[in-house]
Amino acid sequence: MDELTLKDYLRETSIVQSRLISAAVIGVILVAVLLLRLFYLQVEQYQHYATLSQDNRIRLVPIPPVRGQIYDRNGVILAENLPVYTLEVTPDRVENMGTLLQQVGQLVELSEKDLERFKETLHARPGFEAQTLKAGLTDDEVGRFAVNQHRFNGIELRARLQRHYPLGAELVHVVGYVGRISEADLGQIDRAAYRGTDYIGKLGIEDRYEDILLGTVGYEQVETNAHGRVVRTLARTSPVAGGNVHLNIDTQLQKVARESLGEFEGAVVAVEPQTGALLAFVSNPVYDPNPFVNGIDAKSYKVLRESSSRPLLNRALNGRYAPGSTIKGLFALAALENHRSPEYAAFCPGWFSLKGSRHRYRCWKRTGHGSMNLYNAIVQSCDVYFYQLAHSLGIDKLHDFLTGYGLGRTTGVDLEGEPSGLVPSRDWKRRAKGQPWYPGETVITGIGQGYTLVTPLQLATVTGTLANHGKRIRPRLVHSIEEPQAKTRQVLHPEVLETVKLGNDQYYERVIHALTDVVHGQRGTARRVGRGAEYRFAGKTGTAQVIGIAQGARYDENKIAKRFRDHSLFIAFAPVADPKIAVAVIAENGGSGSRTAAPIARRVMDYFLTGSVEPLVPKKSKMTDLRDGGPDQT
């Protein structure tokens, strides 16, 4: 090697070596950066990341509680949880969803709705969670699928508990039903309490007592991997089953009442006066709640909704009717309380007119009752007497008196959506209609027509109040609540809302005496219904006009379309000496109160008090004219 090369070599060496040193310096700086970063993560921020790592792996998995059951007063089960087979798909384990659904569809019927709902949850929930494809498989389908299960991955047959109403339609207006939790529900509930639960009470007791029936969700603390699969269970809090709800309803009585209503649309409410216990709570017609549990199909729902008999309407709770003559007992009390002499006699020529007006308010008895005192006016349901009475007391007193007995106000029953009914007043009319009160409106209020509206529940409750001499008790469907795990049973005690104090307790005796003679007296409007009773009861008929009848025209039932016929009403309580049951019956378009509603009430009381009931006499299909045929009138 020559000198030059050697010189070059030394120069080159020093260049590269100095560069290596530079690179090493940069390297040291970079290593320092890395070490600082590791120190920051593992020492400075250790707590933070340790927490994050813990949160990553620990998850709470909800264990849904068993929903409480619903029983009637005799322990008959009204709402239970039955195991049903469901097909559940774990999307993560499915290779080809389309093929799977198609193949499964050949074994098990998958409706459009099933598929649609499944596709929705598919997007909304994580893929490692099993999702319901179809609930409620038939035994055939279970069999067919079980045999073929080995062919599929990621789909399983599982037994789950589902709400079932063994009596079907019978008690739908009392018990209601549960349904799948909807978007709207989600906004109103505590989501944490519903984790793992798909159903929520939508109607009736199921809705009102949701808090008790639901139970408390349990949790399993599990360790999961990044895919959410459970690796092991770390801790477990067991769920607490929901409370069982025992109703006051007597299912047998309920059946008797509904059978007695027969084809009539209407309501029967029976209450125990001393306790407010609702013994029967019938709204006719009824419908089967079971299809609602998993969502009724649109077509069936449309049929129910558009049916002219309106089965979805809970008439006992929400039906609002003119009370008709059933209100007369209360107005008789009003007369006594306002110091009208019970012996004062009004003359009934068959009609009543206000001074200076030629309008005739007719009595149901066109020929007139002649001279009527308070007792006779109740027993024979003389309209003219009560026209006069109402006119002389004035609307303000009538309003206050009815309101005192709880009319025009909710009863406080344990169901949602109770209406208040309507007791008209001057104020109300000015507000609602922007008109002054006319004296003629007071007149017809006296016989329960005009604006006054009551629900069957209110009517039954007020009848109970009458039987109780003014003690108002909150009507209640639920008798007691049983906590099956704690083995406790809490009985709901009767709740006295208030006691209507009258000047003299004798007033009640007097009016009840007259009401008793409505059914047991010689001239009582419902004397036929009192015949052969093993106990004494008090009652009052009512016939509520559905359409107005022109001046001078006659009401001829056979010439009026059925839906315009009068509603038939009857209220009663029994036995008179020691009231055990108060009943209100409304049969829509049933005609006179004594003919249709009174026998229904009698059957209900018979069954409740004696345990037996006369067989139903088939109703004559053709309506004979009873308008003039007897005393069975308003």
């Binding site: 090369t5 560069r19 993560l41 250790y46």
Partner: protein
């Protein structure tokens, strides 16, 4: 002639470097057992790769540096040809293609270039006296850019970056004037904002996510977030071998490959991480030492480039796992599970050993 520093070489191996490599490979098997879910077959496959790697190392250690220098243009040329071939096969086979299937084994031509490019650059620049003139720098840049472009087209960004870096380090070591370097950096800085404005909004967002994983915790940011949580929750002492919840419960993606350092950090803590990094620094320092005292300039450039590229691997990988660098597909050298890169790295260390042990003809 002074007798060369005749060491008691055994097969031209360098005992300190060899010891460092064996320790690293041992640690790799240890942590892979945990990261791979205690899968022995995975461990076995990695073990086989380690053995192949050491075989290649020993083989290359026997080849004197001047032979390597002579081979450089040929290796580079063959590598370039294979890269083109891979692209053609890929185009026919419809889809990304990095492999050539040679029947017995599959082979990734880009790996050749990790060695071929620095060797070629060193060979080119040592034909004239250093420091290189601007003309030679341009040619050297061309040598770097051509294979890098071909690898980018595959596309394999991680490997492309490593090839580029190994070439650029060789140019830097050859004495590229600082002013050129500063000029290049300035140009890069100036081009940044301009290129940024040229990008679509979604592309910009993707880049933002690279630097700020929390802006998309379940998407692009997921890897980084889970890996930071793993490292951070390891603390000073770690959760213990096989006890890292982030690792064992599969929260860390690619925990056997690119993110294996997160498993290490979680299970062995800061102390373990320091030990591992120290071991790496020992290996790299030994590489730089070999380069520093190499016999000739070609050897010096190649050795320096290989050692510093190895450091680059380490820095980028740990930076990525600890969340200070964006996620790019660069494994933790020698520890990550994976085939070809292990063999290439071992080949590189074979060259280093060859350089260190063939010093008989020291020019005087």
């Amino acid at each position: 002639m002074v007798d060369p520093i005749k060491r008691d070489d055994f097969w031209h191996l360098d005992p300190p470097l060899l010891a460092g490599l064996i320790l690293l490979c041992g640690l790799s098997l240890l942590i892979l057992y945990s990261a791979g879910g205690e899968d022995l077959s995975l461990l076995f496959r990695q073990g086989v790769r380690v053995l192949i790697g050491f075989t290649v190392l020993i083989a290359l250690a026997q080849v004197p540096p001047e032979t390597l220098s002579r081979w450089s243009p040929h290796i580079f040329g063959v590598g370039l040809g294979l890269l083109v071939l891979v692209l053609l096969v890929g185009a026919i086979g419809h889809g990304a293609q990095r492999w050539l299937n040679l029947g017995l084994f599959r082979f990734q031509p880009a790996e050749i270039m990790k060695l071929g490019v620095p060797m070629m650059v060193a060979w080119l620049l040592t034909r004239k006296t250093l420091p290189p003139g601007w003309r030679d720098v341009l040619i050297a840049l061309g040598i770097v850019v051509a294979p890098v472009l071909l690898v980018v087209l595959q596309p394999d960004l991680g490997t492309a970056v490593l090839i580029a870096v190994s070439g650029l380090i060789a140019i830097f070591l050859a004495g590229l004037r600082w002013r050129y370097l500063l000029l290049a950096l300035a140009a890069l800085a100036a081009a940044g904002p301009f290129s940024w404005s040229m990008l679509h909004e979604y592309q910009q967002r993707r880049i933002v996510t690279l630097f700020d994983p929390w802006s998309d915790p379940l998407g692009a940011g997921y890897h980084t977030i889970q890996s930071i949580i793993a490292v951070g929750s390891g603390g000073v002492y770690g959760k213990g071998w096989l006890n890292g919840s982030q690792s064992q419960l599969e929260f860390i993606p690619e925990r056997s490959t690119d993110f294996i350092f997160a498993v290490f950090g979680e299970e062995f803590g800061l102390i373990g991480a320091l030990l591992l990094i120290s071991l790496y620094i020992f290996v790299i320092s030994r590489g730089i030492y070999i380069s520093f005292y190499a016999r000739d300039t070609f050897s010096r450039l190649v050795a320096g480039s290989l050692a510093l590229t190895f450091f680059f691997y380490l820095f980028v990988n740990i930076g990525m796992v600890s969340g200070i660098l964006p996620v790019v597909g660069i494994p933790l050298p020698l520890v990550s599970y994976g085939g070809t890169s292990m063999v290439t790295l071992m080949a590189g260390f074979g060259i280093l050993m060859s350089i260190h042990t063939h010093k008989k003809f020291m020019p005087k």
